[in-house]
């Protein structure tokens, strides 16, 4: 502690610059993670945060909601599977909608308002009645307001916005929920002459204490032509999610590696530069452990400060983010990233400790002959 803090204090510029560099890299890590999380929330929030325990897809749809076509008669078959409390239809349509003078994409979900898959929690307004919808709250930033009317194109069907629901966006476009019977009417109006209106999914609630994944497997086994999945599996299985996650993970992984290497090389360079001092200190009785602790204290101080700088920059960046794609500081993410960078940096600092351990204290006397 004695030499660690004094060294930090007397080399403020050097350590300050590295703290800044670590801060920027940590910011990049946090920002990429935040961006990835927000993007995935917008992409599959409607599935991941669905109020149903299990979502049932058409078996050949390969977990693609928009390719899934189910017959309504399957609801009773699924409801009869042991562990299923209730099963309800879910329909999804991606449409063009007009709000005011503007045209926009809209994902319209028809659900049982009181059953599995119901839009909840309502964070503003009230549940929809006939001719009404609730929207995912991210729509507020895009100009959707309670009391406004959405006009579907080309049918001209009008739907009034009466509330907002949390974390239920789908496919990164504005998402609205209405009663399933209303949705069927919209479907028929948009696609006149359709003999049968297919369901996209069947939402299922399971008995308390039962693992939804287990019940999902039972449904898959018991009912021909369907695949029952718990919400997390269904969300992660949505086409495109893997690619997005892998791309971000790769970039985050590379950035993480760079942070750790920067810290490792910095301390290794400093160690080599200060080797004469370390040799002298060892000669007068400083143990390797003492010098290692000093170095690790510096690593901890530097990475912690750098992480605070990174979190601070992220905070500023989120304040300036587009309201339609809001980014926010997730304290848990900051702690996780800081912890991971810190742990890895300490390990990287052991390179320098190893270099110190290899010094021979006799060099303090011998080396200057």
């Amino acid at each position: 502690m004695f030499i660690a803090l004094r060294d930090l204090w007397r080399s403020k510029l050097r350590f300050g610059l590295l703290t800044g560099a670590v801060g920027l890299l940590v910011f990049l890590l946090l920002f990429l993670n935040t961006l990835s999380a927000t993007l995935l929330d917008f992409f599959i929030g409607a599935i991941e945060s669905n109020s149903a325990d299990v979502l049932v897809y058409e078996e050949t749809a390969r977990r693609n909601l928009q390719a899934s076509r189910l017959d309504a008669s399957l609801i009773d078959d699924i409801a009869a599977v042991p562990g299923v409390v209730e099963a309800a239809p879910v329909g999804e349509l991606t449409l063009t909608a007009q709000i005011g003078e503007d045209l926009t994409d809209l994902s319209l979900w028809g659900v049982d308002l009181d059953g599995p898959g119901r839009p909840a929690p309502i964070v503003e307004g009230r549940p929809p009645g006939p001719g009404e919808v609730v929207m995912d709250e991210s729509g507020m930033a895009e100009g959707f307001k309670i009391g406004e009317t959405i006009t579907l194109v080309p049918s001209g069907t009008e739907l009034d916005i009466v509330g907002f629901v949390r974390d239920r966006r789908y496919a990164v476009i504005a998402t609205a929920y209405l009663d399933f019977a209303e949705w069927v009417a919209v479907f028929e109006a948009e696609f006149p002459g359709t003999p049968v209106v297919p369901l996209s999914l069947i939402a299922v609630d399971v008995d308390d204490g039962l693992d939804p994944a287990v019940v999902g497997d039972r449904i898959t086994t018991a009912v021909a032509g369907v695949e029952g999945l718990d919400r997390t599996t269904a969300a992660r299985g949505t086409p495109g999610v893997d690619s997005i996650s892998q791309s971000f993970n790769l970039i985050v992984g590379i950035t993480f590696g760079i942070v750790v290497l920067v810290v490792a090389f910095f301390f290794l360079i400093l160690t080599v530069q200060k080797l004469r001092s370390f040799v002298a200190l060892r000669a007068i009785g400083a143990s390797v452990g003492y010098l290692a602790r000093s170095l690790i204290i510096q690593v901890i101080a530097l990475v912690t400060l750098g992480s605070l700088v990174g979190a601070g920059i992220l905070r500023v960046a989120t304040l300036g983010s587009n309201p339609a794609f809001p980014l926010s500081v997730d304290g848990r993410l900051v702690l996780t990233v800081t912890g991971a960078v810190l742990g890895s940096s300490i390990l990287a600092g052991l390179l320098s400790v190893g270099r110190i351990a290899r010094t021979d204290p006799a060099d303090a006397a011998q080396g200057i002959r």
Binding site: M1, F2, I3, R6, D7, R10, S11, R276, S277, V279, A280, L281, R282, A283, I284, G285, A286, S287, Y290, P361, A362, A364, A365, Q366, I368, R369
Partner: protein
């Protein structure tokens, strides 16, 4: 009382054809309150002997005893603690820590040795006063003259109140006047505290401040001068 007993010590660097015998059957005894000059030309083995006595180097054969402590058989950790608590080194190149002030270069021993920190700090202030460095105590080594740095190194060697002070060429990078002043100061500090001290030098003018002189040539200790 015998402070240092060097008994038949040999030190060989390297092996086979590259082996260099730096010390040959060296034997030496030093009492408390005795300041000895180890005189010899460059490469004679002075620094090696000093390093062996200070627990920095292990002898190839022979035995070194400091007070009642035999250095042979000590683990690296024990050697480190021994150096921190019982030996005060003044190296030829001062070897001060560049990012610590004059006072901190002394008080750092409070976090290295077993002595209580408060005791080290009080002794550091006393030594700074005795060494005429009070006004320079907050200066970094780079802001100090050669003589001042040497005095800081002496202060660091004394601050733990060690049994043994080992000094390597204290005048090497100083002019005659400053060198004499530093050695006189060193002798005073060692004698005042009743310590045993060995000063390696090749400067004959400095031996008058020591109690006795031992010559070393090609690793062999010769008769006392």
């Amino acid at each position: 009382m015998t402070a240092i007993n060097v008994d038949d010590v040999t030190k060989i660097y390297g092996e086979g054809h590259t082996a260099v015998r730096a010390l040959r059957d060296a034997s030496l005894e030093l009492r408390d309150n005795e300041f000895l000059a180890l005189l010899g030309p460059s490469g004679s083995g002075k620094t090696t002997l000093l390093s062996v006595i200070g627990g920095l180097l292990a002898p190839t054969s022979g035995r070194v005893t400091i007070g009642d402590t035999a250095l042979a058989g000590m683990s690296k950790k024990e050697q480190t603690r021994f150096r921190a608590n019982r030996v005060g080194f003044v190296f030829q190149g001062f070897n001060l820590v560049p990012f610590l002030t004059a006072r901190e270069n002394m008080t750092v021993m409070g976090s290295i040795s077993d002595a209580p920190r408060s005791e080290i700090e009080a002794r550091a202030d006393q030594l700074l006063d005795e060494l005429g460095l009070t006004d320079r105590k907050n200066n970094l080594p780079e802001q100090l003259s050669g003589g001042e740095r040497q005095r800081v190194a002496i202060g660091r060697a004394l601050v733990t109140d060690p049994d043994l002070i080992l000094v390597d060429e204290p005048t090497a990078s100083l002019d005659t006047e400053l060198g004499t002043q530093v050695v006189r100061l060193l002798a005073t500090e060692i004698k005042t505290r009743g310590k045993a001290g060995i000063m390696v030098t090749h400067d004959l003018r400095m031996v008058e401040y020591t109690d006795r002189t031992v010559r070393i040539l090609d690793g062999e200790l010769l008769d006392e001068a």
